[in-house]
Amino acid sequence: MNNRITLNGTADAQGVDTLRKTHHVNLFRRFILLTVVCSLLPLLAVGWWTYLHYAGFAHTRMIEGFETQLEHHRRVIELFLKEKSAQLHLIAHTHTRAELVNGSTLNDVFDLINREYWTIKDLGVIDARGNHLAYVGPYDLMDKNYAQTFWFTPTMEKGLYISDMFMGFRKVPHFIIAVTRTEGNEKWILRATIDTEAFRSLVENVKIGKTGEVYLLNRQGIYQTSPRFSGKIMSKAGYPVGPIHDGIRIIEGHREGRNRIPRQIVCQTWLAQPRWLLVVRQDFTEALEAVNHANRATLIFLVLSAMMILIVAGFITRHMITIIKKRDAESDQLNQQLIQTSKLASIGELSAGVAHEINNPLAIILTEKQLIQDLAAVDPVTLPELQAQLKDSTQQIDIQVQRCKRITENLLRFSRRTHSLIEPVDVNQFLREVVDLMEREARSGGVRFLTDLKNDLPVILSDPSQLQQVFLNLITNAIDAHDQKGLGTIRIHTRSGGEPGIEVVIADTGIGISSENLNKIFDPFFTTKPVGKGTGLGLSICYSIVRQLGGRITVLSEPGKGSEFTLFLPLRPPREFMDQMAETEPLLERKVAA
């Protein structure tokens, strides 16, 4: 069992330790919480803000993109239709009916129109009664009468008509453009069937991502082109088209009646002529994929940052707690030293008073003894027994008074403020002298000295007489510790201290100090020596002297094996001590002069 104390350890140290531990744990939690609140929250706030801002921005851009696309498609379709209408118009007005009906003029015109690329399936001239006057095209439609068809009347009324997709006589989805011309009193119609493939490719070949599609609907909600996914040409769309509106309309969300499909973004606009609804549609997730990607990156960045912060906060906090623990331990030790010092100070005051009070009766006892001796000298006692007893008694009085005086002197030395001189001390040389002084006494007790004095020690400023007292006390104790052992060694070792100063180790192989006594050895009046042998002041004097000189004294002891006292002495005494010295010095000079 190895006991170590620096000073008086208190009994409730354990309780304090537990308290400290909970305190440290709480502190750790609070630090972490604070760091998290102070750094993670702003980080999250910035992340959230960025997300919102960027998402909004990206969304706007996407919508703008859709609008541009829609606008573009509309223009393409309208241009196509306008161009075809204009061509027919031109033909109708540059040729008379007779010219177109007779000969091969219609054939020539048909070839000319389709020369660049195939856009017109057939071309026909129809009179006001609906009879086919001339026809160019793949079908056999010459004998058809169109008077009852849905487009005949509006064409005759408006002069220009673009039909919806219809099956017609040929049972193939197609649509027609018809223009009228009035020659004299007679109206006639030039009708062209638009090549469905050419027209549909304008719309259907547009591919937007994986889920995007572009299509046309008429006012009844019937597909005018085949959408990529949603349906087939001439079939009815799954949702109502709603009333005609101006400009571009954007709808986000699930299309009514079709809950299972993902959220979509739909961009639509009505064409001017014919009244078809142009729709550009895409799955929301795909449209916003760039945003989602950016968001994922941001999220990963945030999580990484948060983790970094947590880890760093953990490390920093641990480090801080370690520092705090160390500080706490230091302050505990300091507090204990303070308690010890103040305890010694109050005991010092008390003992000075007690010593003084005891000295007075001692002085009287001494004078009484002297009186008896004087009388005995003047008139020798005749009775031999009385004479012997008298001699014995006065001798014993002397011895006991001397013993008391030694106690009071020790008490006073313990309490007294120092009046000695500070001068350079070569500790090694000094220790050698002390060892020389004690060698004889040690040898009679069977104790040998081993000295291990380092040569490179600095010369310190200290009080030689007080140091001598400290060393004498410690060495005397070390010798006394071998009383029951007979043989042993005292090792005296010097070395440079951890901080500027010198360490002196005085280790013995004596009986050691039990752990319960270890706490008390520096207390005044504590002694394990037999009654009359020790005053119990030696170590407390050592302690107060070393403290005054700005040093420390620590003890390490193993019962039965020995004790080791380590003294730390600073290079110079503390300032207060020097100031005190300066006050008392003139007095000392005066005393020397007297």
Binding site: A355, A363, T367, D374, L412, L587, R590
Partner: protein, 155 residues
């Protein structure tokens, strides 16, 4: 020196009584005083060679008494006796002009030797003073008028 006149000042009556007997046995003429005030009264009335003064007394303490004694301008030497606890005060007393100090309890022989030392010093001081006065009178006889009435008063 036998026949010297000693004044013991201590509030411990037993101590002064015993000490007085011991010193008388050794041939001194001893007077005792139980307080600083008593001591001053005695000193004003008679001439004393050595004063043995305790420092710690109720009422006027040793230092105050010493100051008063100094005011009287005597050649008497003061020996301080202290309970050792008040060693600071003892040193202060020495600074104020006391001859020396002794710590209680002390052997009678120790005290006697210090008293002898004090007595010698008193003799020296008187001698010095006397020579100085004679010197002054020689230099200027009229100074004798200033010197002797005072001497008379003390004597």
């Amino acid at each position: 020196m036998k026949g010297s006149k000693i004044l013991l000042v201590d509030d411990e009556a037993v101590f002064t009584a015993n000490m007085s007997k011991l010193l008388s046995h050794r041939g001194y003429r001893v007077k005792t005083a139980g307080s600083g005030e008593d001591a001053i009264r005695i000193l004003e009335a008679e001439d004393v060679d050595v004063i043995v003064l305790d420092l710690k007394m109720p009422g006027m303490d040793g230092i105050a008494t010493l100051r008063e004694i100094q005011k009287l301008g005597l050649f008497s030497q003061t020996l301080i006796l202290t309970g050792h606890g008040s060693i600071d005060t003892a040193l202060e007393a020495v600074k104020l002009g006391a001859y020396d100090y002794l710590t209680k309890p002390c052997e009678i022989d120790e005290l006697v030797s210090k008293i002898e030392g004090a007595w010698e010093k008193k003799g020296d001081a008187e001698q010095k003073d006397r020579s100085a006065k004679i010197q002054k009178v020689i230099e200027s006889p009229s100074a004798a008028f200033d010197l002797f009435p005072r001497k008379k008063k003390i004597g």
